[in-house]
């Protein structure tokens, strides 16, 4: 439980850091102002929640000795990350925000950061046999 919790929280922090760095580079390079919709707090919050949910799913599988299902869970996480990009593509921003066409480019990569961070850290939290 402790290991899975640590895995979740550390990957959440990693995804947050990646998201915040990308957010700052994107906004400064393209001169966009999407702070009303996305900001450092929301990036950190969503990244940590997403990674903790993944960790919780892993813990449930371990609890019920369904380790073999982890592959299916990974596929499901990847599919959910991919499906979630529909939301920024289709959403309408407030009309006072300029260049809404640049919004998907900011947030779509971030949708993959939690899964990427969690899967990257899997070898560090693997049970030693």
């Amino acid at each position: 439980m402790k290991k899975t919790f640590l895995h979740g929280i550390i990957s959440g922090l990693l995804a947050s850091a990646a998201g915040i760095i990308y957010f700052n580079i994107y906004q400064n390079t393209l001169g966009t102002e999407f702070n009303k919709i996305v900001n450092i707090r929301s990036i950190a919050g969503v990244s940590i929640i997403a990674c903790m949910l993944i960790a919780l799913s892993y813990w449930v599988l371990e609890k019920f000795n369904k380790d073999k299902w982890k592959g299916i869970l990974n596929v499901l996480i990847a599919l959910l990350s991919f499906a979630s990009i529909i939301s920024p593509i289709s959403m309408s921003l407030p009309f006072d925000i300029k260049n809404p066409e640049l919004f998907p480019g900011l947030v779509i990569p971030m949708h993959f950061f939690p899964a990427l961070a969690f899967f990257t850290l899997v070898p560090f939290f693997k049970d030693k046999k």
Partner: protein, 177 residues
């Protein structure tokens, strides 16, 4: 007496003639204007608007609106919707980059005023009456248009998902020009 009569007559003629060339107060469009259109779907704003406004409540005959909206400034909050709105089937912004309203008559009504004129959109010119009020140096008006009348999209296929009737709300703060 004769010597002074003609100079006085000339001065009086010039003085009274001045009233015939009196024009309504001209106004400059100030920052903070809003051109908003709403319906079930779509909804959005045009963020660029310019033109000449001459308005005097005491001289409606000399008052006139000649204003232009930049079609490329459309913002519906979504990049793909904005691109679609500018394409050939909708506003065709490349060929018709502006929407123009020119008033021909302004009259007083029970609630404010009415500007009767012509709306030129996507090359189609149609008469349009815009009811408006003028208070605190701000013109506020609201009217509806049918986009199909102007060839902006169609009512067939995917286009039919977009409402034909759009409510337009205009708020234009002005300063004396």
């Amino acid at each position: 007496m004769k010597k002074i009569f003609f100079p006085l007559a000339i001065a009086a003629t010039i003085l009274f003639s001045a009233f015939t060339v009196y024009t309504a107060t001209t106004w400059k469009i100030a920052e903070g204007y809003s051109i908003k259109f709403t319906s079930d779907d779509p909804a959005g704003v045009f963020s660029s608007f310019k033109g000449d406004i001459a308005f005097d409540a005491n001289d409606l005959g000399g008052s006139k609106f000649d204003v232009t909206i930049d079609v490329n400034s459309i913002n519906m909050g979504n990049g793909m919707k904005n691109s679609k709105a500018k394409n050939e089937n909708w506003f065709n912004a490349a060929k018709y980059p502006s929407i123009k309203f020119t008033s021909s008559k302004i009259t007083k009504t029970a609630t404010g005023y009415e500007a009767v004129g012509t709306l030129d959109m996507k090359g189609v010119q149609k008469p349009l009456t815009i009811p408006f009020t003028f208070a605190n140096n701000t013109f506020t008006g609201s009217f509806s248009i049918n986009r199909i009348d102007y060839g902006v999209g169609t009512d067939k296929g995917m286009d039919s998902h977009a409402s034909s009737i759009l409510k337009v709300d205009v708020s234009v703060p002005v300063t004396k020009g």
